[in-house]
Symmetry: C2
Amino acid sequence: MSAAEEIAKLAKSAFEDSQLVASAERVNALHHIRKALESNKSQILAANREDLQAAQIEVDAGRMSESLLKRLDLDKSDKWDSMLQGISDVADLPDPTGIVSYAKELDDGLELYRVSCPIGVLLVIFEARPEVVVNIAALAIKSGNSAILKGGKESNKTTQLLSQAIATGLSQSSLPATYVQTIQTRAEVASLLALDQYIDLVIPRGSNSLVQNIQNNTRIPVMGHADGLCSVYLDESADVDKAVRVVLDSKTDYPSACNSTETLIVHESLLQSVWPIVGRALLDAGVRLLCDPPTLIALSSLAPQPLNLALAGPSTPSSYRTEHLALTLSVVALPSLPAAVRFINAHSSHHTDAIVAESQAAASAFCRGVDSAGTFVNASTRFADGFRYGFGTEVGISTGRIHARGPVGLEGLVIYKYMMRSTDAKGHVVGDFGAGGKRYKHKDIVAAAVPF
Amino acid sequence: MSAAEEIAKLAKSAFEDSQLVASAERVNALHHIRKALESNKSQILAANREDLQAAQIEVDAGRMSESLLKRLDLDKSDKWDSMLQGISDVADLPDPTGIVSYAKELDDGLELYRVSCPIGVLLVIFEARPEVVVNIAALAIKSGNSAILKGGKESNKTTQLLSQAIATGLSQSSLPATYVQTIQTRAEVASLLALDQYIDLVIPRGSNSLVQNIQNNTRIPVMGHADGLCSVYLDESADVDKAVRVVLDSKTDYPSACNSTETLIVHESLLQSVWPIVGRALLDAGVRLLCDPPTLIALSSLAPQPLNLALAGPSTPSSYRTEHLALTLSVVALPSLPAAVRFINAHSSHHTDAIVAESQAAASAFCRGVDSAGTFVNASTRFADGFRYGFGTEVGISTGRIHARGPVGLEGLVIYKYMMRSTDAKGHVVGDFGAGGKRYKHKDIVAAAVPF
């Protein structure tokens, strides 16, 4: 058996063994993990400094970016404390498992319950930021899944000690110490991606190329998003002040986030009214505009000319398929709401798209017609986020259409099973039902939890 | 553009165009389809007779099984009428779309709604039985998905006319006529399986080899089950009469169904008590038993000897991994409930497994410890079925752990999207929140439907 298969088998049996452990014990494990991290703080931060020194050499040699180096630093501002607080926050969230979502009495003495339960074994692959190993371990444990984690090689020394603390915390609970395992190499990931008999869900968190590479190399379901190509549409009925505020926030609040807007669609009727004001505000904010001819002409004929007019230039067809992740915005004028909806459905990554409109009918048609995980009215695309949605935590954002869509909270890490119980003196058999026999009652049962 | 890509693009735009059509119109389309089928009954049954004649030649030549031939016949007993009734039944089910499952006020005048919506484009591949084209079309239309259907080549003439009637019915509604399309060749299926930009979910309904072949050849999510390896465990605390009834029904009620039991696990303490009675009942019912040494010895030492004792023989390790789909049952004795749970988790297909037990603690541990879509107490595995569960219809049974698990009703064909609306005079931007700014309220909203 390969090393990867050994790890995967251990994860599966840790998951199976954990099914009889009460969910309160998972919360207990989280508290122990927090304590283990606290008591190993100095060693962990020392290992983190070693990772940082090695990374600094890479940066000096031009082989690593300064921003990647910064993400490695676990001692920066309140990162350590907020990592610990995150564990307690997740521990305090409601238990996502054991919730009954469907319950019927099928016959006298025959009850059916659909109850939420963990998915199984998660394989989570992420890059650079070492605290993610702790975040994800907390989410997996809270939701009852076992996990195999792979961080970036740049933070190997740090994640190794973080993982040891997690294992220490687990060993002080009734959960198996192998409930959360960490691997270090890409070769192990490649082997694990083939083991669909043990691994139930892959969650990649990182660059587009990481996510796409994983999607192309496994038949295990993948939850994640390869890109975030969001757009804002300024409807014929748009209010100019809302247009300026929503577009500016959607583009400039945090340009490298996946919920930032990359494309602005302007209704043709606004080319001489709302668009010049929005365009000027964008240029003033230092946003580079890639415009189609009508929107570019409308800008260049502005008087007085915007200071940063040089930032406006012509778009190409590929502009509208590009996730800029920077202060760059593609702009296009279209003749109607249906044209805008079609354009978005053809070009966006089905993540989040917003309309600025005073017309209720336009807002309603946009929200139904745009086939994305989030459709917003007069609100910034930047609201698409698990914390802002009120989930208490965020597992990731999914652009898939199966299981979980959009920002994903703990609910995305559970599925359900059906439990059935006969309390009849003779048990229940199917042969008693049907032609000439008994009929199914399908009577609703009110139950928050399975009573057995 | 290839023919397959043309079909897939048409399906995607039919889906997108349908998003602004009221859901009542989908019910209307179903009624028109029923009428179109009724008025074309004689031509459809004539085409069906042609398919049957061609199939009879194949059967006579030994190239097709008699049972496949029978499944082709659309005029057998009440098949035609129940196909039509099925359309009306699906039409009458509650609309699975538009249901709000999460609603929060994020701020004064900023509302978030999670609302169920169709998945998109379904590719459904099935074998032989021509009426499935009508069943699946009804399910897809009712849930708001567009569909591409591929039936067995043996029923091509029949499904062609059924599809024409479906298109006729659709054209009498406001839905696009290309909402449901039918394809005829395997080559088209192969091409479509590569088009994940247009097709959102593949549903194979047929043999193990069909399902596995599809799972191995697409990165589109697949909903289905490759096999149904169900088991019954007779606990130490089992009641003998319940054991006999549940085991017999699980095995003999319909042996070729996926929810029939293939493996019986006997607690060692029952080898001289419950097991001989259950074994005798199985042999009397003509069930072939593949036994491990302890269960085989217990049977052969029975007095008086069971009439059909010759049906009992030794098992091999592969017996416990085999979906017999016939009157054959693999039997093994194990020393404890945990051993039985481990055996099931290692051998079953995670479809449905049952325990026969009087002990409440054993029942509870079994239901939690067995990692299957259905865990039943003193009830036959044959109850695992969408109609019996009360879904009103069944899309299929899923042995996956993502999205839908176990018997799947219309709910399995929907996902959700998040709609957000700001009614604030200035619209809503993220920049107003956070340090020194506004805080998210996350106040529950009670709403059955999105109010805009």
